[in-house]
């Protein structure tokens, strides 16, 4: 009764516990991003410039037209004919061929629609800090800002106008995290896009703290940020957005908390 069979039974338990105790695998289609700290784009009034990001999961690719078409089939209130004007403007989904959706990144989606998609997957939009942290990465380094060739390439992408027909996801730039298309494809929504504040024009910005934001000029930026013009561009772009906006080269990807 005991003896060999008993040994086999009890021998399995430590093995099982070992498997349970190991880190869970990434959710399908996502990469695990380790936590980190990096210098913020702008100076805060308390002169602290560090941003910290906890570990999290990020979608490997931007959400595709096919992904989004499937979502609105299951959730018809997000169809363009049904959606409330509070949640999307007149351009919503106008650049997407829903009858023959592709693997191109979905664009012309409002922030509300992007949020709803992520929630339907048990996910969320990444925060600005999370997204920008992953955007720092080159093919080989978590922080590519020390790599002038990489920085030049990124600037080149932002310098060229977007093509009429977007390529499919996953065909372009892959960074050290295994995440594709953080540069060179589409602008992307973040959960707190409206945390990008602009200062007033000099004519009427008398009471705005000039230390709060210093985007336009290099004056007041941290030294390493002086060459990161794309980050400034993204900040400016976000500060021009409203949640209802559907823009032809603005898409999104989802994130998830990591244990």
């Amino acid at each position: 009764m005991s003896g060999t069979s008993g040994l086999l039974r009890w021998g399995c338990v430590p093995l099982l516990l070992g498997v349970i105790a190991a880190a869970p695998p990434e959710p399908k289609g996502m990469e695990r991003i380790a936590g980190g700290t990096y210098e913020a784009l702008y100076k805060s009034d308390k002169l602290q410039t560090k941003v910290s990001v906890e570990p999290f999961y990020l979608d490997r690719y931007p959400v595709t037209e096919r992904d989004f078409a499937r979502f609105i089939r299951k959730h018809p209130r997000w169809r363009s004919e049904n959606i409330s004007p509070l949640f999307a403007d007149d351009k919503y989904l106008t650049t997407v061929n829903l009858s023959d959706p592709s693997s191109r990144p979905v664009t012309s989606v409002s922030w509300f629609a992007a949020k709803a998609y992520c929630r339907s997957k048990g996910k969320r939009l990444p925060t600005t800090n999370e997204w920008e942290f992953v955007a720092l990465a080159s093919e080989t380094a978590v922080d590519g800002r020390g790599d002038p060739k990489f920085m030049a390439k990124v600037s080149e992408w932002y310098g060229s106008p977007s093509t009429d027909s977007l390529p499919e996801v996953g065909q372009g730039f892959r960074n050290v995290w295994g995440v594709f298309d953080m540069h060179g494809l589409v602008w992307e929504w973040v959960s707190d896009f409206n945390s990008a504040l602009t200062i007033g024009e000099s004519r009427n910005a008398g009471t705005v703290d000039p230390d709060l934001f210093c985007g336009a000029a290099a004056v007041g930026t941290t030294e390493s940020q002086k060459i990161n013009y794309p980050a400034f561009l993204r900040y400016a772009f976000r500060s021009s957005l409203e949640g209802t906006y559907a823009v032809h080269n603005l898409g999104f990807r989802c994130a998830m908390d990591a244990p």
Binding site: S44, S84, L197, T198, R203, S239
Partner: protein, 217 residues
């Protein structure tokens, strides 16, 4: 900038002519224009208004947003609770010592104005649910001597962010836990549709009162 204000006012006046609701443009002294890259081409929807079922909200009503909040009495509230009368909405936080007092002063001025309907409701939503507890909100309301026409709300951070986006309010929390934020004040009509919104530029109270008088007529 002046022509933009005129066009803005003209658009509000036209909208107010189609409803008997209150139209107030409330503008705060601190400017945060945020449209350096935004295009003007995002047109408004034109919906055919069909008969609504009882309790149903129009597609333009903020009351279709179902988030739950706690007020300064600890009661659970929804935005739809404010149906039936105009509502003046601003986002503030109790520890704010700069723009928020100015916004609240403007709203109090509206409250005491003879041209503002006596059933107008005033709602302050906190950016700071972490520190602005129910007790803190109650103390805040008391310190400002706010009447029973005022409701102070705290909610989940996601709901706060969503409401801010809906109201066109921009905000971020700084390292020292204070908030940087724009100073929009939004006016809803009795059905929850956005009647008007401040442009974030300074305006004298007399202009406010004049607009309110014209809109209420």
């Amino acid at each position: 900038m002046q022509s933009t204000i005129s066009a803005f006012v003209a658009r509000w006046m036209r909208r107010s002519a189609t409803s008997a609701s209150l139209l107030i443009i409330v503008v705060a002294p601190i400017a945060v224009p945020n449209d350096i890259l935004a295009e003007e081409s995002h047109a408004h929807h034109h919906h055919v208004h069909r008969e609504l079922e009882a309790g149903e909200h129009s597609s333009e009503s903020l009351f279709q947003v179902d988030s739950t909040w706690l007020d300064q009495q600890g009661k659970t509230r929804r935005l739809a609770d404010f149906a039936g009368a105009p509502t003046v909405l601003a986002m503030v936080y109790a520890s704010c010592d700069a723009a928020c007092p100015a916004m609240i002063a403007l709203m109090k001025h509206m409250e005491s104005s003879a041209d503002v309907p006596k059933n107008t409701q005033f709602v302050l939503v906190s950016f700071d649910p972490e520190r602005d507890t129910v007790d803190k909100l109650q103390a805040f309301a008391r310190s400002l001597r706010l009447s029973d026409r005022w409701t102070l709300l705290r909610g989940a951070p996601d709901d706060v962010r969503e409401l801010a986006v809906l109201l066109g309010v921009r905000f971020k929390q700084n390292e020292d836990k204070s908030f940087s934020h724009s100073n929009n004040i939004t006016v809803l009509d009795g059905s929850g549709e956005i009647e008007g919104r401040s442009a974030g530029l300074g305006t004298s109270p007399s202009v406010l009162v004049e607009l309110a008088r014209e809109a209420a007529s």
